[in-house]
Symmetry: C2
Subunit: 132 residues, 2 copies
């Protein structure tokens, strides 16, 4: 019988003990979730990382390990550091746009509202690039 | 003689072969860099990940693996996913601020430049929160 084993024990072709460290976080119906962390960290490292945490934090830790492993599988060079880098760029863009928009306000204010046409044309492009 | 061995071979107490996969990316003067990736991924997984990449991409991969490992060491639950989440929050804040600032422009434009006082008071706080 193989039913009742978690995805990790199924993958590792071993008996799933009643106190299996993987069981609550790697259900049998999602084998790719375990395969992914196993590929990047190895089963024993994942077990070690989960074991050193209190029970109520293990689910979140398993989720973030899976996320990082999936990113690393998709991008073997940059992993989820690529996402961090892209988000920094987005923030820089948004800050630039904010500065420009504030400059527009100053311009409109100083010109007594006569700079309306310039305003609408320069403040349009950034919203779409900061969407995720 | 132990000189000439890379940080990985020193850490693993083994001879450092001339074609050592770790040597170019884990210099002996930075033992913590290897200790960090070893703690999270294990030496064999790091070697495997580097080996599957062309030489010119291995340095960047080693750097991003070190970054992720250091984040995971500092925060065992969220690792660098915490940074990603914080950056998303910063972007949301910046977008909100941008929308508010645009609404101010519309208001000033429609009131013929008479909304100057409101403008300067509401557009000030975001810049500091989007700095890193």
């Amino acid at each position: 019988m193989i039913s009742g084993r978690c995805a990790a024990c199924k993958y590792l072709r071993r008996r799933c003990p009643s106190d299996c460290i993987f069981f609550p976080y790697f259900p049998p119906n999602n084998p790719e979730r375990f395969a992914s962390v196993h590929r990047i960290y190895g089963a024993s490292n994942v077990a070690k990382m989960l074991q050193q945490l209190p029970h109520h934090l293990r689910g979140e830790a398993a989720d973030t390990l899976c996320y990082e492993a999936e990113c690393r599988t998709r991008d073997c060079v940059y992993g989820c550091v690529k996402t961090i880098s892209q988000l920094h760029q987005e923030i820089n863009k948004a800050e630039c746009q904010l500065a420009k928009t504030r400059a527009e306000i100053a311009f409109i204010s100083s010109s007594g509202g006569q700079g309306r046409t310039t305003t609408t044309s320069t403040s349009s492009p950034i919203t779409s690039s900061t969407k995720f």
